[in-house]
């Protein structure tokens, strides 16, 4: 354990400059904006002539946007070592079990997310507090911080798992980005096929959607809007996705092969699933406006994605079978959409 602590200390020291840069990039423009922006304006009703003070955006969304962006950047910063043969040689030969190595990397990754966000968030809070006229309901900054931080921790966990499914940094990014609308697409299909429209908000099914939904609600409370709506489902879906991400990241470590670095990203959570799922559901969702050009477009996109995956133009017959099967499945699923 002593070795793990010492390694954690080293890693923290190693990422210190990165952390300082991230804090500066997030905080300085944010504080500058909050210190100088107009917080409210007087609205003159064109019919009644009544004057009303309207609060401008609290810009809390900017801090949540930064949090979301950090959740995509940080996994690449801390786990990219496993995407190069040299990195694997360097880190896997150290006298540390993989679980401890990845635990240290995960903790550092979380700090790279939470520290810049925290400094930015509370820096912005202070910038507002110290302004002479502050019309906002500042109480909501406290629950907004803890709620956002929790959602950030969850999103980082999911992205950490998705990124590490890639065997190259580019594939890792592709996986994180490809999963953003994946669940929304499945929800879209379910709502269209089974008439579930309106049961949940769309943001709930985007991987970072929880941040948007929660951020919007908190913003509305801060600027004293009435009729604030928020689906508590966000705090169910995101923690589940996050917990699954962390659990799978560590549970699959024994199956993590060092020799896979720089090779094709063959994970079952990567292209193997993404290409057929996207092909089938995009086709199914577009059946209403089905035309041969649309079909060909989706088929070509599936082939291009397979070329990106296989890194060659001439790929094995089974991949053609996968594309064909996905297209057939798409046509079949499309039949259920009224």
């Amino acid at each position: 354990m002593k070795r793990t602590w010492k390694f954690l200390r080293f890693e923290l020291k190693k990422y210190l400059w990165t952390l300082i840069v991230l804090v500066a990039v997030c905080t300085i423009p944010y504080i500058a904006e909050l210190s100088t922006m107009e917080l409210s304006y007087v609205y003159n009703h064109y019919q009644t002539g009544a004057l009303t003070m309207v609060l401008r955006s609290s810009q809390i969304g900017l801090s949540l946007f930064a949090l979301g962006a950090l959740c995509y950047l940080s996994p690449a910063l801390v786990y990219s070592f496993k995407m190069s043969k040299r990195g694997i040689d360097g880190y896997y030969s150290l006298p540390l079990k993989k679980e401890k190595l990845y635990l240290v990397k995960t903790l550092v990754g979380l700090l790279l997310v939470l520290v810049p966000f925290t400094v930015m968030y509370w820096g912005g809070f202070l910038a507002l507090v110290f302004r002479a006229e502050n019309p906002y309901d500042m109480f909501w900054y406290l629950p907004a911080y803890f709620g956002s931080a929790l959602l950030g921790v969850c999103l980082f966990g999911l992205n950490a798992f998705l990124f590490t499914r890639g065997n190259t940094v580019a594939d890792g990014f592709v996986f994180m980005i490809a999963y953003i609308p994946l669940f929304l697409m499945l929800y879209e299909y379910a709502t269209a096929a089974f008439d579930l429209r309106g049961r949940a908000s769309y943001e709930t099914f985007i991987t970072f959607g929880g941040l948007i939904e929660f951020g919007n609600a908190m913003h509305d409370l801060i600027v004293r809007y009435e009729n604030v709506t928020f689906s508590p489902l966000t705090f169910v879906v995101m923690p589940i996705l996050g917990a699954v991400g962390y659990a799978l990241l560590f549970a699959l470590l024994p199956y993590e092969k060092g020799e896979n670095a720089e090779q094709l990203s063959d994970s079952w959570f990567g292209y193997k699933i993404l290409i057929p799922v996207y092909t089938a559901f995009l086709l199914a969702l577009n059946m209403n406006a089905f035309d041969i050009i649309g079909f060909c477009g989706i088929a070509v996109a599936a082939i291009v994605a397979t070329v990106v995956y296989q890194r060659k133009f001439k790929f094995h017959l089974k991949w053609w079978g996968m594309i064909g099967g996905a297209l057939a499945l798409g046509l079949f699923l499309g039949m259920f959409i009224p």
Binding site: R3, K6, F7, R9, F10, K13, K14, F81, S84, K85, R86, G87, I88, D89, G90, Y91, Y92, S93, L94, P95, L96, K97, K98, K257, G258, E259, Q263, D266
Partner: protein, 293 residues
């Protein structure tokens, strides 16, 4: 002692790089691991270092499996042919990393940095290939592990740095009882430091043993004959046979006197034994296996 027991390892694109490899490497020796390109040397070193997991079999140190074994891995330092360093990393920051996980001797590190005239605060990316290698050599010697694994050990090092490194390796083995496994194509360099060796060919250890003893068992003759002589006429199996005009060079195993006697039966104009070095032994072995014909 390092024991490699029935180890098999394959990659997806290249099936079975190592096939049922069995090898024992005694403590306190310098072991030379040689083989042609793609023979599986780097894979074997990465398995011993615990970087890769075996598909079948085990890599054990003193009877304990190395895979995910922190205690055993703390006794190993692996210096790959292309060592890892992140952008902006300095010799100092690398030393800090290894200090976190190994028993690191700062004084030794500084000594070798001075010997190699390296600036510990300069980014490694600006160093030449040889200077980068020197940094990692200094790190390896500062860790002074019980088992030092060196892939393409002398690659990029200038003759002076090679000499310093070889001396340090001998010191490590003699004074600290370390075991050094070196994979290299510089067989003449290996011959200077190795006690024992193993030849890896297409994933199989084809030949292993004490270097001095095995060099003593292989004999190289140069002879000239009036008539044309073929390998079949020699009366003994030869590892390699090269003819240039009337002069032939023969590499063979066995008793030197008996081999000379058989050669003399072919009435040579002259016959003489020439000293065999490791490179010739290796080439003879690979030629005997059908390469370079």
């Amino acid at each position: 002692m390092i024991e490699i027991k029935n180890v098999t390892k394959g990659y997806e694109d290249k099936k079975e790089v190592l096939k049922n490899v069995n090898l024992k490497i005694e403590d306190s020796c310098v072991f030379g691991l040689v083989g042609i390109n793609g023979a599986g040397k780097s894979t074997l070193l990465r398995l011993i270092a615990g970087v890769l997991q075996t598909e079948a079999g085990q890599v054990c140190i003193d009877g304990e499996n190395v895979w995910e074994n922190e205690r055993r891995k703390s006794e190993i330092f692996f210096l790959p042919d292309d060592p890892f360093y992140a952008s902006g990393v300095t010799a100092r920051s690398l030393a800090d990393m290894y200090r976190a996980v190994y028993d690191f001797k700062e004084k030794t590190f500084q000594t070798y940095l001075e010997k190699f005239k390296l600036n510990e605060k300069a980014p490694i990316r600006n160093f030449s290939k040889g200077m980068k290698r020197q940094v990692f050599v200094a790190l390896a010697l500062a860790i002074a592990p019980k088992y030092l694994l060196l892939d393409e050990a002398f690659d990029g090092l200038d003759p002076l740095a090679r000499l310093v490194f070889k001396r340090a390796l001998v010191e490590l083995v003699e004074e600290k009882g370390a075991t050094v496994i070196i994979s290299s194509h510089s067989l003449r360099e290996l011959e200077d430091v190795c006690d024992s060796y193993g030849i890896l060919d297409h994933g199989v250890i084809t030949c292993a043993g004490e270097l001095e003893r095995d060099l003593g068992r292989v004999h190289k003759f140069q002879a000239a004959f009036e008539k044309e002589v073929s390998p079949e006429m020699l009366g003994f199996p030869c590892m390699s046979f090269h003819r240039t005009g009337r002069v032939v060079q023969i590499l063979a195993r066995g008793n030197a006197e008996e081999l000379t006697a058989k050669l003399k039966m072919l009435e040579p104009l002259f016959v003489e034994e020439i000293e065999v070095d490791f490179e010739e032994l290796f080439i003879g072995e690979v030629e005997a296996r059908g390469y370079l014909q």
